[in-house]
């Protein structure tokens, strides 16, 4: 009787051990810690929360496959509230208190700019996260910006060329006085000097501005035909509202360009039909072919629903998942987590991700750009699922992704 019991107990014990084997494998060696600050509240919070779901999805995926180099991946993220003053302290804490091995940058230029000198000084690799030209002055050689754009010309070409083709001869530039918008607007200002466009209005506004009726009134008075706006989510929404309150004039051919936030699902739902006619940049619209993207969205939406976060996850999440994929490939290929060795790998190799192949140039920006310019059409109020249809955002540039032509003037497109 005892022998039987002992055998059963032994078998039970063995199966328990077998079931706990994966974690036992991890328990042997120290985890790989990846850390970042993510704006989860504040102006960028709408995008940041969604991005975080995607990164955590990758962390779980990679741990299910056995981790990296046999070690479990641990992930820690703090909320910087979209405030650039918070990020240096957070990254100092990540490095010296949490003692993370690898760093990912916060979503967006404004929270990222302050930590560039610090990261360069500490000799750490930094995976950029949708920043724009934030390394131009610091010139950190271990910076790799995960975003489908490179410079201002690449960003705005589609927009400006379409505006000129539609008959636009004068241009107004409205830009927030912060790192992203200024980098972009300065680039656009330089780009258009050779294009024989008449610049009739050019204003920066403080990033804390909440009421745009005066600025839009002035833009209207300038009678500009092309209106390029570089703004962050709260201002983008405010500007769209002001445009509908004040109006910009019937001479406007094309309006938009660099309004961050018009790709965030909560803002898209909130603004609804006010988006119609606006031509803006985007990183993903339904219909674009990317390897494995549908599968990703399915799994992402499941998690996002549970966490009550942006369920569509178009703009940012696929790219944040791709950051994980790139780290995974580099770590597995170099068999190390040393910053310098990973940086060398990134510099020399093309990586395959769910947003397509990714290659970096000498400055750490993406060589193979794929930023699209699309016009909102037929958008209805308070409807989330409508955005899954490719005909809500018609891609007018680049030719490889194009699905239609620009409708102009802007006021006609508003009613589409």
């Amino acid at each position: 009787m005892d022998k039987m019991r002992r055998k059963v107990v032994g078998a039970a014990g063995a199966s328990v051990m077998a079931a706990s084997l994966p974690s036992q494998v991890f328990a042997q060696s120290a985890p790989i810690k990846i850390g970042m600050s993510m704006p989860q509240t504040g102006g960028l919070g709408g995008g940041g929360q969604a991005a975080l779901v995607a990164i955590r999805l990758w962390v779980d995926d990679v741990n299910a496959k056995g981790g990296l180099l046999g070690r479990k991946v641990e992930f820690v993220a703090y909320d910087d509230q979209s405030n650039p003053a918070n990020t240096p302290g957070i990254y100092a804490k990540l490095l010296d208190v949490d003692k993370v091995d690898l760093l990912i940058a916060p979503y967006a230029t404004v929270p990222t700019a302050p930590i560039m000198p610090l990261v360069k000084q500490r000799g750490k690799l930094l995976m950029g996260n949708f920043s724009f030209q934030v390394n131009a002055d610091v010139k950190h050689d271990m910076w790799f910006n995960n975003a489908p754009w490179n410079d201002a010309r690449g960003w705005s070409r589609g927009f400006i060329e379409s505006g000129i083709a539609a008959g636009g001869k004068s241009i107004a530039v409205v830009a927030s006085d912060q790192d992203f918008a200024q980098n972009l607007a300065d680039g656009v200002r330089a780009y258009i000097t050779n294009l024989k466009l008449n610049k009739v209005y050019d204003q920066n506004y403080p990033p804390t501005t909440k009421d745009f009726s005066t600025i839009i009134r002035a833009v209207r008075a300038s009678r500009a035909e092309i209106i390029f706006i570089a703004s962050y989510p709260p201002d983008s929404a405010g500007i769209v509202n002001a445009i509908h309150e004040i109006g910009v004039g019937e001479q406007v051919r094309i309006l938009g360009g660099g309004m961050v936030g018009l790709g965030f699902t909560p803002i898209m739902i909130n603004l609804g039909s006010k988006l119609n006619g606006i031509t803006n940049f985007n990183t993903y619209v339904p219909g674009m072919k990317m390897p494995g993207i549908d599968n990703f969205f399915r799994r992402y939406t499941e998690r996002a629903k549970a966490q009550k976060v942006d369920e569509l996850g178009f703009y940012l999440p696929p790219f944040n998942y791709a950051i994980g994929q790139m780290l995974e490939q580099a770590i597995n290929a170099t068999k190390s987590i040393d910053d310098r060795r990973l940086a060398d790998y990134f510099r020399k190799n093309e990586m395959q991700t769910i947003v397509g192949p990714v290659r970096f140039d000498a400055g750490g920006e993406r060589v193979n750009q794929r930023l699209i310019t699309a016009q909102f059409r037929g958008v209805k109020d308070k409807d989330q699922e409508q955005f899954r249809s490719p005909d809500r955002q018609i891609v007018i540039f680049p030719p490889s992704d194009k699905t239609g032509d620009l409708i102009h003037p802007y006021e006609r497109a508003q009613k589409s």
Binding site: A85, D96, A113, I115, P117, L118, D177
Partner: protein, 310 residues
């Protein structure tokens, strides 16, 4: 004499600490605590000794930071030049504020100092060379000999600055100057009638206070490797610089020291363990509690305890 030997000992101790292999974050956080000591001590020279409540601390700190930045950008000046220039500019600003105090008393003076914060902030926002609202990324010098790292050097510089600030406060308190200020605080009209040169005293107190505040702000650009106006002129500096002397005790130079160490340490612990948001709540609540229950601060409580235990 005993004061000076303690100071010297402290500076030497700090030097040793900086060379030791203590975690870098300690110095990162320690810098903030030391800066708080300077801010609280400087505020108290005008607020505690003279009774003029300066809500415009951020104007001076921010001006100091941007003055230092100007030195760095234009002539690549070393830290010591940055600090001295910052003290000069902020001292001048303090002098101007002192002139304001001629016409304005009480809450009017305080509101005027708040106005100064926003006016300085707006000036900087419109000054593109200094970065405007966007701000600037800054590279620290790589060499920080004889220190192991730039943050450690800044920590030690802050130790020296704190000692200097305390020494100045202590000197003022025990001097003729201090007695004049106290007379002024108790009743400005009576003091004037008694022949106290109130205007001169106020101008001196404002200038010294302003200069110290600016000096405390000067290392900020290099400390963060980044500067932008909204955090440099943040009104939270005002409530902190006000709370620390009130909590510690406004009548003695050791009050701001006690208040600053206590409050700033709690703030750093809260920031690291809970969230950076709640550390402002800590300041606000402690300020209100002390103002209601113990307006003479910890020093006041200590004195009462000593008197009652005799």
């Amino acid at each position: 004499m005993r004061f000076w030997s303690i100071c010297a000992g402290f500076i030497v101790l700090a030097f040793g600490l900086v060379q030791s292999p203590v975690n870098d974050y300690f110095f990162f956080a320690g810098f903030v605590i030391l800066q708080a000591i300077v801010l609280a001590t400087a505020w108290n020279i005008l607020g505690g000794y003279a009774g003029y409540v300066n809500f415009g601390v951020p104007a001076f700190v921010g001006t100091g930071a941007y003055a230092a930045l100007l030195v760095h950008l234009s002539i690549s000046g070393p830290l010591i030049v940055q600090i001295l220039f910052a003290a000069l500019v902020s001292g001048a600003l303090g002098f101007l504020v002192g002139l304001i105090s001629v016409r304005l008393r009480g809450i009017f003076f305080s509101i005027a100092t708040v106005a100064l914060v926003f006016i300085m902030e707006t000036l900087v926002i419109n000054w593109r060379y200094l970065g405007g609202a966007t701000g600037l990324q800054l590279t620290r010098p790589t060499e920080a000999w004889p220190f192991d790292g730039y943050v450690r050097m800044l920590f030690w510089v802050m130790v020296v600055m704190a000692v200097i600030a305390l020494a100045i406060a202590r000197y003022i308190q025990d001097s003729h100057f201090g007695r004049g200020l106290r007379a002024l605080r108790d009743s400005e009209d009576a003091a004037e009638c008694a022949g106290v040169p109130t205007l001169r005293l106020k101008l001196m107190a404002c200038t010294v206070s302003g200069a110290l505040l600016g000096a405390a702000g000067a290392p900020m650009p290099m400390y963060m490797s980044y500067i932008e106006p909204y955090s440099s002129f943040n009104l939270v500096y005002a409530v902190s610089a006000l709370a620390m002397p009130i909590i510690g005790g406004m009548s003695h130079w050791i009050g701001p020291l006690v208040g600053a160490i206590l409050l700033a340490t709690i703030q750093q612990i809260v920031t690291v363990t809970i969230s950076s948001e709640l550390n402002v709540l800590v300041v606000g609540v402690l300020l209100v509690v002390f103002v209601i229950a113990a307006p003479d601060g910890i020093v006041g409580l200590y004195r009462k305890w000593k008197a009652s235990s005799k």
